[in-house]
């Protein structure tokens, strides 16, 4: 299988301060990878570093064999797409506008959609199951529906790699199941590589092919969800936070 991304001696953090020991990980084409860890464990920092919004403190990130920061913003826009927790809040922004914006990197100066682009937009709406929402205002949708719109936007962008930041954070149980199904569809049928993060021991984690677990000042550990549970790494990495919380209540 093809390698999509790998890091060598990657140090992440702010102002030259590394948050955790050096990270050596890689993403393989078609994998669903979960980045899990309690709040404040450096998840978001790693996420931002891998998606080029933050400079690494040391080491390097290679995307398709080339340093992440050597790509221009335009080149990066066709290599990976984002699904974030922040949401557009403009009142008159329609679902169609958002999804079509995902196609912009592929369009010319006047952003005229060709038949081919319309086909891609239509397909992505169908894949995610929101074609009936296309003329709705984005702000009027539920959290689950908004999440699907952003995933649809990422699909239209047509990138091999998709980053999803806390995709399950605001979802109810049925929406989480739907999200898992969509992620499976993207990875198994469309061979997308997905890296998503979660601060919770969420049901999503069970459906990951690979898991990266982080905790403050601890080395990143990786393995299949089962391996990590069997080795009691999950317990160890998520426990300190739980213990501290208990201590807080006892005081």
């Amino acid at each position: 299988m093809n390698e999509v991304l790998h890091t060598t001696n990657l140090l992440i953090g702010y102002k030259g301060q590394a948050l955790m020991p050096a990270i050596d990980v890689s993403l393989t084409e078609g994998d669903i990878v979960a980045l899990a860890g309690p709040n404040g464990s450096g998840k978001t920092t790693l996420f931002k570093t891998l998606s080029a919004s933050l400079k690494p403190v040391g080491g390097e990130v290679k995307l398709f064999g080339k340093d992440l920061r050597d790509y221009s913003p335009t080149e990066r826009s066709s290599l990976f797409s984002l699904v974030l927790t922040e949401k557009p809040d403009d009142l008159f922004l329609k679902v169609f506008d958002i999804v079509a914006a995902g196609r912009y990197p592929h369009l010319g100066l006047l952003a005229k959609l060709k038949a081919e682009d319309e086909q891609i937009i239509y397909d992505s709406l169908e894949t995610v199951g929101i074609s009936h929402l296309v003329n709705r205002n984005f702000v009027s949708l539920s959290d689950g529906e908004q999440q699907k719109v952003m995933i649809s936007k990422a699909l239209v962008q047509d990138t091999p790699l998709i980053f999803m930041d806390e995709p399950a954070a605001f979802l109810d149980y049925p929406s989480k199941i739907e999200l898992v199904n969509i992620m499976h569809k993207l990875s198994r049928e469309k061979h997308k590589t997905i890296l998503f993060s979660s601060h919770d021991l969420d049901l999503l984690l069970r459906h990951a092919d690979v898991m990266w677990v982080v905790a403050p000042q601890q080395p990143l550990r990786q393995g299949t969800p089962k391996e990590l549970v069997d080795q009691e790494i999950i317990d160890e990495y998520f426990k300190p936070i739980v213990a501290k919380d208990e201590f807080f209540w006892m005081k």
């Binding site: 319309e118 074609s131 003329n135």
Partner: protein
């Protein structure tokens, strides 16, 4: 399959076409009314005669030399300020942003205040001042506004967040405002008077000779703004999404500030600081066209800005008023209720 796509992705183009035609028609009617009404009343038949057959009528001067340039100035200012306001609202993702947000019109006021003070301090009499006043004041306002624009552009390349940039703009506006006040304090009554008049705003300061330059400059600024529509649409998604879709945030925000600031500087220089048009019109456009797509919204805002400016100019010159009302009080009177309505409407929709 193709029909499925058409069915799913069909946009409501009939409504858009209808609203566009209505907007243009209203603009034309308002333009004609602007030529027809004023302190001198002209009978309809003589009005058409003058307009269609030209030089025979005694009303020729009033219509062609006075009202026509004023109406054209009003519509150009309406277009430019509204587009400029839209750019600010999108860039800062703030519904209450307007062309004066970054202190550019305060810079213009400062420029004019300098002329007023220099005029009085160097002992130029008011009559000397008035000889070159219209043009001198325009130049001074333009220089002041442009100085602030360049300052903002220089600072924007060093600032990471939009919030800081707004704060810097507001601080610059405060500094310009207080220096203006100090200059006013030291200037004499006559100079002060002309400053106050300039501050009320007027569409009648652009001479026939200056009009082509003004028109071309507004067109350049507006077309330049339109060419930014892709970036503006992407910015609506939020900075991180925009960046991921290939937008160079720093460069794009500088281009947006340049386009918006150029229009503001230009129009403030020629017409004085005109309040509320730039704030209110983008909201009317979004509401009427039910869209946030800048490819549609920029032309829509431009035409609605033209309509509203012509309407305000008409109100300011209603025959019953002796002379012109200050245009600024009219735009505020009409613009402020619209902004109030937007605030309440926004609350309702977000619920």
């Amino acid at each position: 399959m193709a029909s499925d796509i058409d069915h799913t992705l069909r946009r409501q183009t009939p409504t858009i076409a209808l609203v566009s035609i209505a907007t243009l028609a209203i603009g034309i009617v308002l333009f004609v009314l602007n030529l027809r009404y004023g302190s001198v009343s002209i009978p309809w038949n003589e009005f058409w005669d003058t307009l269609l057959h030209g030089d025979t009528s005694t009303y020729r001067t009033i219509i062609l030399d006075y009202r026509l340039p004023q109406a054209i100035t009003a519509l150009l200012a309406g277009i430019g300020l509204s587009v400029s306001g839209l750019l600010m609202q999108t860039l800062f993702r703030n519904p209450l942003a307007d062309p004066s947000l970054l202190g550019i019109s305060s810079g213009a006021s400062l420029g004019v205040a300098f002329v007023v003070l220099l005029g009085t301090a160097t002992g130029l009499s008011v009559s000397t001042l008035s000889l070159w006043s219209t043009f001198g004041v325009t130049i001074a306002a333009f220089l002041g506004a442009f100085a602030v624009l360049l300052l903002i552009l220089a600072l924007s390349s060093r600032l990471r967040s939009m919030v800081s940039l707004v704060l810097v703009g507001i601080m610059i506006a405060y500094i310009a405002g207080s220096v203006t006040d100090i200059l006013k304090f030291f200037s004499q009554k006559e100079g002060l008077h002309s400053f106050v008049i300039w501050g009320m705003g007027s569409f009648s300061n652009v001479s026939k000779a200056q009009l082509p330059f003004f028109a071309i400059a507004v067109a350049v600024g507006s077309i330049g703004s339109f060419l930014l529509f892709k970036t503006l649409n992407l910015l609506l998604l939020g900075e991180r999404y925009a960046e991921n879709l290939g937008v160079n945030i720093r460069r794009s925000s500088m281009l947006i500030i340049l386009a918006s600031g150029f229009l503001t500087a230009l129009i403030t220089a020629f017409c004085g600081p005109i309040a509320f048009l730039g704030l209110a019109v983008p909201h009317i456009a979004r509401f009427l066209f039910r869209s946030s797509d800048h490819k549609l919204l920029i032309p829509a805002t431009a035409f609605l800005g033209m309509d509203l400016a012509l309407f305000c100019n008409l109100i300011a010159r209603l025959p019953s008023f002796e002379g012109n009302l200050p245009i600024n009080s009219v735009t505020a009177l009409i613009g402020a209720p619209i902004v109030l309505w937007v605030i309440f409407h926004r609350q309702k929709v977000l619920k």
